[in-house]
Symmetry: C2
Subunit: 226 residues, 2 copies
Amino acid sequence: MKIAVLGTGMVGQALAGRLTELGHDVTVGTRDVATTMARTEPDGMGNPPYRDWATAHPAVTLATFAQAAADAELIVNATSGDVSLPALEAAGRDNLAGKVLLDIANPLDFSQGFPPSLFVKDTDSLGEQIQAAFPDLKVVKSLNTMNALLMVNPGRLAGGEHSVFVSGNDAAAKKTVTALLESFGHTDVIDLGDITTARGTELLLPIWLRLYGALGTPMFQFRIVR
Amino acid sequence: MKIAVLGTGMVGQALAGRLTELGHDVTVGTRDVATTMARTEPDGMGNPPYRDWATAHPAVTLATFAQAAADAELIVNATSGDVSLPALEAAGRDNLAGKVLLDIANPLDFSQGFPPSLFVKDTDSLGEQIQAAFPDLKVVKSLNTMNALLMVNPGRLAGGEHSVFVSGNDAAAKKTVTALLESFGHTDVIDLGDITTARGTELLLPIWLRLYGALGTPMFQFRIVR
């Protein structure tokens, strides 16, 4: 499948790398290609610059948000939550219309330091804001409840015996995303319902952050036992 | 142990019944004993009136919040989140001072219908509000992330192979609560840290409510796989 991954950070790299490994034709989208490739310093979280990752992944093309989205059948929103709406605006409404958007972003607000709080709470969600802003996009919220390494290689932890959620208004789009998640190795994909259920998964971040602190590792996962 | 359970609803009944079964001396606290015993209709959720439960549990005494708290070594807050602070105020500061409070309440706001939203979000929590209002109380937030039946009988689901969280500022109080949880059958008690980590567990409610909708049963649990 032709897939655009919007966002050049850890999450975008993890998705783009794994999708390429699985045989997809992946283009990573960024605001400005030259600026992204000119960065030689690690980001604020200590992750290496994109161009180091790109060197190790020659099959992945870097393009503008609009170029990446134009040819894609499926688009992954792996941008920071606070810039997701402008990034999608830059991708262009015509390039998005009718397509599936796998939305991984979280509405994290780091303005008061760590742990971040959320800039959308439980009466709205970033997933809903994106769906409302781009009614022609088929938004499916998923994967935002775990570390990037586990998103794409769930089998690295407990043989993949943990849960991932999907929220969205379009049944066929959720089916497409579910198949993609299963191809990554996810064994328990729970369909929570329409895009408003993204309120539930986005609000898992506060406990995720505290568990990260308490357990001292991001390599943990939620399993819904039933 | 002499334990006061504040609140006569489903959660209070579940806790009081199980604690009695385990040999504790339990008094249930309510605002007005006569009013509680006069109720003959099911509550808004269809649960039978307290007096039916009381008939089946003759060992459990019903008293005012203040009477129940006065003699207790440990106090359980099983009131609705929106009345927790006034209920504790009614219990009396002197009756609470220096004691452990196991806080199970959730800050649910049903004013806009179902599913409820939260009246405290991720920059504060009900647990913290109680701790701030009653500095002499040793507040431990726990059990608020699951159905009442699973709180007290976790072994009913998957042999108890799921997780429960504790948040609180006092290490000895968390130890007391952890021992109580283990006596119920909990096998994985995760200490998240101080009382501010209650923000994480209270914000599990939004996804709990959506999972309840998607799975069609409240008999599920979070397990932290690591």
